[in-house]
C-alpha cells in the first residue's frame, strides 16, 4: 500500500482526538451489524491493504461480477417489479394478477396455498381449514388454465413459489401455456424448486432428501433441453433468513445448496454450460442497509469464483449469480403498521444498490394477513419511486469503492468460507440436514435475536420503543368461503369426467420409472391423462415415502 506509514501516523493522531472525545461524549452502545459483525467507528485504506480493483471488483459485467452481472445494469433495463400474490381459487387469483399487470407489474409471481405446497388436493381431509389462505389452490390443469385466463404466457414471465411438488406445477404450467398456443421453448419464468432449503427452513418438504434431489436434477435436465428460457430452480436464502438465520448464514447455506445442485447435475452427466446459466437465486433484503448490500455483492463474487474453480465452465454466463429479492417479512411489525412502508423502502433500496434482477416489496399489513389491494399498490409504488424518481439506478454499484462497503463485502465473504469448511467437514449439505446442523444454527440465531429484543439491546420501533396505544384500523383481506365451494365443485367435476384407466396407467408408468429415468415426461403424461396434483404426489409417496423431520429447538 502506498503511503501506509502516513495512514498509520494519522491514525495514531486520530486515536488521541478520539480518546478525548469519548471522555466527554461516550459512545451510545456497542456497534454491530444485524449478523453480529463488530464495526469500527470508520474505515480507511488501512482496512483494504490487499484490495485490488480487478481482483476484488472488476468493472460491471466483468469477472468476478462484484459490481453487477451486466455492463449497463439498470441503465438498459430496470429490475422486474414482481409482487408475490395468490389466494383463494384460480379465478380469484386471475383477477388479482390482472390488477397487478394493469398497475405496472412486469412479471408475475404465484403464491400457492399450503395444501398445494404439500402436494395435496383440496378435497383431502388433511387440508381442512387451509384452502386458499396462504396462496392459491391449484390441483388440476383446468385450475392452471383458469389462473392465467387472458394473460398471454407467451409474453409474460411467471415465477412460482413451489418446491416439493414443483415438477408437477411446472408440468401444469407448460401444458396451460401450450393450450394458449405458446410454445414450450418460449416460456419464461421460474419454479422455486429448491428442496434443500425446505429441510433447513421453510419445511414444505414431501419426500426424503435423496429422491427429492433426484427430482430437482430431473427438472434441471429437462429445462436445459426443452425450456431454454426457464429458470428451473431459484436457490433461496429468503426462507433460511426469515426462519432466523443471519445474513452470513443465509448466504453460506444458500450458496452451499447451489453448489450441491451443480455438483449433482454434473454427476448426472450434464454439461455445466448447458444449465448453469439458468440457475437463479432468491435472497432476503433485511433492514441492516449496508450489510445487505455487501451480502449481495459478496454473493456474486463467491459464486463466480467457486463455479469457475470447481467446474471450469467455458461460457461466462455460467458464472453469473442472478437473483430475485424480497424485502424482509420478519422485519414487519404488527404495531403501527404504516411504519412498515418505511422499512420496506429501505430494504428495497438495499436490494437495488445490491444489483438485484427482480424485486418484491412487502405490503404494510402483512404482519396481520395477506395484503389488501391498496397495501400492495403502495408496495409496488415504492419500487417505482426508487426506479423512476430517486436517481439510485443511474450509476452501477454506486457504493463500490467505499472503504466500509468493501471491507464488509470481504468480511462476509470470509465468514461464508468458514461455513463452507464446516459443511464440508460434516460431509456435505444432505448430511448436515440429516444431522440437524442447519436447523440448529438457524434456531440458535433466531433465539439470540429474540433475546436481544427482550433485553432491549435491539430496538424495534413501535414494539420495544416508541410504543403507543393504538386502535388498529387497517382493512383485512378476507377469503370468502364461496371460493372453496366453487373450487371443490370444479375438482369433483374434473375427477368425474375422465378415463380412470388412462389415469392409472400413466401413474403406474411414472412409478415404474421413478428412480431410473427423468420423470418430467411421465409427469406431463399423467397430467394429460387428467391426474390431479394430489394423485401424482400420492403415487410418488408410494414409491419414495415421506420425510418426517427431527424436532430441534
Amino acid at each position: 500500500m502506498e503511503k501506509e506509514e502516513l495512514y498509520k501516523e494519522k491514525l495514531e493522531e486520530w486515536k488521541k482526538i478520539y480518546k478525548k472525545s469519548i471522555e466527554s461524549m461516550p459512545e451510545r452502545q456497542e456497534f454491530k451489524t444485524l449478523s453480529g459483525i463488530d464495526l469500527n467507528i470508520f474505515y480507511s485504506p488501512l482496512e483494504l491493504k490487499n484490495f485490488d480493483y480487478f481482483e476484488n471488483l472488476g468493472n460491471p459485467g466483468q469477472y468476478p461480477f462484484t459490481r453487477g452481472i451486466h455492463p449497463t445494469m439498470y441503465r438498459s433495463r430496470l429490475w422486474t417489479f414482481r409482487e408475490f400474490s395468490g389466494f383463494g381459487d384460480a379465478i380469484e387469483t386471475n383477477r388479482r394478477l390482472k390488477y397487478l399487470i394493469e398497475h405496472g407489474e412486469t412479471g408475475l409471481s404465484i403464491a400457492f396455498d399450503y395444501p398445494t405446497l404439500l402436494g395435496l388436493d383440496s378435497d383431502d381431509p388433511l387440508t381442512k381449514g387451509e384452502f386458499g389462505k396462504a396462496g392459491v389452490a391449484i390441483n388440476t390443469l383446468e385450475d392452471m388454465q383458469l389462473m392465467f385466463k387472458d394473460i398471454p404466457l407467451r409474453d409474460i414471465s411467471t415465477s412460482m413459489t413451489i418446491n416439493g411438488p414443483a415438477a408437477i406445477l411446472w408440468g401444469l404450467y407448460i401444458l396451460a401455456g401450450e393450450s394458449q398456443g405458446a410454445r414450450r421453448n418460449g416460456l419464461r419464468g421460474t419454479i422455486q424448486n429448491d428442496i434443500l432449503k425446505e429441510y433447513m427452513a421453510q419445511k414444505s418438504f414431501i419426500f426424503p432428501p435423496e429422491p427429492s434431489l433426484k427430482l430437482v436434477i430431473d427438472t434441471i435436465e429437462f429445462g436445459s433441453k426443452e425450456l431454454p428460457l426457464w429458470n428451473p430452480i431459484s436457490i433461496s436464502g429468503y426462507h433460511i433468513r426469515e426462519a432466523g438465520a443471519t445474513a452470513i448464514q443465509e448466504l453460506a447455506f444458500t450458496l452451499a445448496n447451489g453448489l450441491t445442485y451443480v455438483e449433482k447435475s454434473v454427476e448426472r452427466g450434464l454439461d455445466v454450460d448447458d444449465f448453469a446459466p439458468r440457475l437463479s437465486f432468491f435472497f432476503d433484503a433485511h433492514i441492516d442497509f449496508f450489510e445487505e448490500i455487501a451480502k449481495f455483492r459478496a454473493a456474486r463474487r463467491i459464486w463466480a469464483r467457486e463455479i469457475k474453480r470447481r467446474f471450469s465452465p467455458r461460457k461466462e454466463r455460467s458464472l453469473w449469480l442472478r437473483f430475485h429479492t424480497q424485502t424482509a417479512g420478519v422485519s414487519l411489525t404488527a404495531q403501527q403498521p404504516e411504519n412498515n412502508i418505511i422499512r420496506t423502502a429501505i430494504e428495497a433500496m438495499a436490494a437495488v444498490l445490491g444489483g438485484t434482477q427482480s424485486l418484491h416489496t412487502n405490503s404494510m399489513d402483512e404482519a396481520w394477513a395477506l395484503p389488501t389491494e391498496k397495501a400492495v399498490m403502495i408496495a409496488l409504488r415504492t419500487q417505482q419511486i426508487i426506479a423512476e424518481e430517486s436517481g439510485i439506478p443511474n450509476v452501477v454499484d454506486p457504493l463500490g469503492g467505499s472503504y466500509y462497503m468493501e471491507w464488509l463485502t470481504d468480511k462476509i465473504e470470509d465468514e461464508v468460507y468458514k461455513y463452507f469448511d464446516k459443511i464440508d467437514n460434516l460431509g456435505g449439505v444432505i448430511k448436515g440436514i440429516r444431522s440437524g446442523f442447519f436447523q440448529r444454527e438457524i434456531a440458535e440465531s433466531a433465539y439470540r435475536f429474540q433475546r436481544d429484543l427482550e433485553e432491549n439491546k435491539r430496538v424495534l420501533v413501535g414494539v420495544n420503543k416508541y410504543k403507543i396505544d393504538e386502535k388498529l384500523e387497517i382493512p383485512i383481506l378476507r377469503i370468502p368461503d364461496e371460493l372453496e365451494d366453487r373450487h371443490l365443485r370444479r375438482l369433483k367435476n374434473y375427477k368425474s369426467n375422465r378415463d380412470m384407466e388412462k389415469v392409472n396407467f400413466a401413474l403406474k408408468e411414472m412409478q415404474k420409472n421413478a428412480d431410473e429415468k427423468n420423470l418430467m415426461p411421465y409427469i406431463i403424461d399423467s397430467i394429460k391423462a387428467k391426474a390431479t396434483l394430489g394423485e401424482i404426489v400420492k403415487a410418488l409417496k408410494d414409491v419414495w415415502g415421506e420425510y418426517i423431520e427431527p424436532v430441534i429447538y
Binding site: 399450503y114 395444501p115 405446497l117 404439500l118 395435496l120 388433511l126 387440508t127 381442512k128 381449514g129 387451509e130 389462505k133 396462504a134 421453510q202 419445511k203 414444505s204 426469515e242 426462519a243 432466523g244 420478519v330 414487519l332 411489525t333 404488527a334 404495531q335 402483512e366 404482519a367 396481520w368 394477513a369 395477506l370 434456531a443 433466531a446 433465539y447 429474540q450 433475546r451 429484543l453 427482550e454 424495534l460 413501535g462 414494539v463 420495544n464 388498529l472 383485512i476 377469503i479 423431520e549 424436532v551 430441534i552 429447538y553
Partner: protein, 132 residues
C-alpha cells in the same frame, strides 16, 4: 412447587416454526417445562399429547391463516375430553377481528407478533387454572 407444563404445538400444514421454537426455548429459560410437538400436527395429535404430558397450557402457533379452523377443532376436542383446567393460548398472523372471535369461543389469549416473552410468561402464571 412443581414446574408449569406448557405444550407448544404447530397445527395443520404450516411450516413457519421460528416463533414456536423461540418461544419454547425462551419459556424454558423462564422456568417452565416445555414440550414442542414439531410441525404438521392434527388437532387430535395435539390434544392427545396434552393429555399424555399432563400440561397446564396448550399454545398453538399458526401463521398460515387457518387459525379459526385449528383453534375451533382443538377447543372441541378439549371439551370432548373433559379438559377444562388447561389454558389455551396462541400466536401468529391473526387479524384483530379474528382475535376477538377466538376469545369469545373460549381461547384464553392470542399474542401478536412483537409480544415479549415476559408478557406471555406473566399471562400464563397469572391465569393458570390448575394448582401448582
Amino acid at each position: 412447587m412443581r414446574k408449569i407444563r406448557v405444550l407448544i404445538a404447530k397445527p395443520g400444514l404450516d411450516g413457519h416454526d421460528r416463533g414456536a421454537k423461540v418461544l419454547a426455548r425462551s419459556l424454558m429459560d423462564e422456568g417452565f417445562e416445555v414440550i414442542y410437538t414439531g410441525i404438521h400436527q392434527t388437532a387430535e395429535d395435539i390434544v392427545r399429547t396434552a393429555i399424555e404430558e399432563d400440561v397446564d397450557v396448550i399454545g398453538l402457533s399458526v401463521l398460515s391463516g387457518a387459525h379459526m379452523y385449528h383453534f375451533r377443532r382443538v377447543l372441541e376436542l378439549m371439551k370432548e375430553n373433559g379438559i377444562n383446567d388447561v389454558l389455551l393460548i396462541g400466536g401468529g398472523i391473526v387479524p384483530e377481528e379474528d382475535k376477538e372471535n377466538l376469545i369469545k369461543m373460549g381461547v384464553d389469549a392470542i399474542f401478536n407478533p412483537g409480544t415479549s416473552i415476559q408478557e406471555i410468561s406473566d399471562f400464563i402464571r397469572k391465569n393458570l387454572r390448575r394448582p401448582l
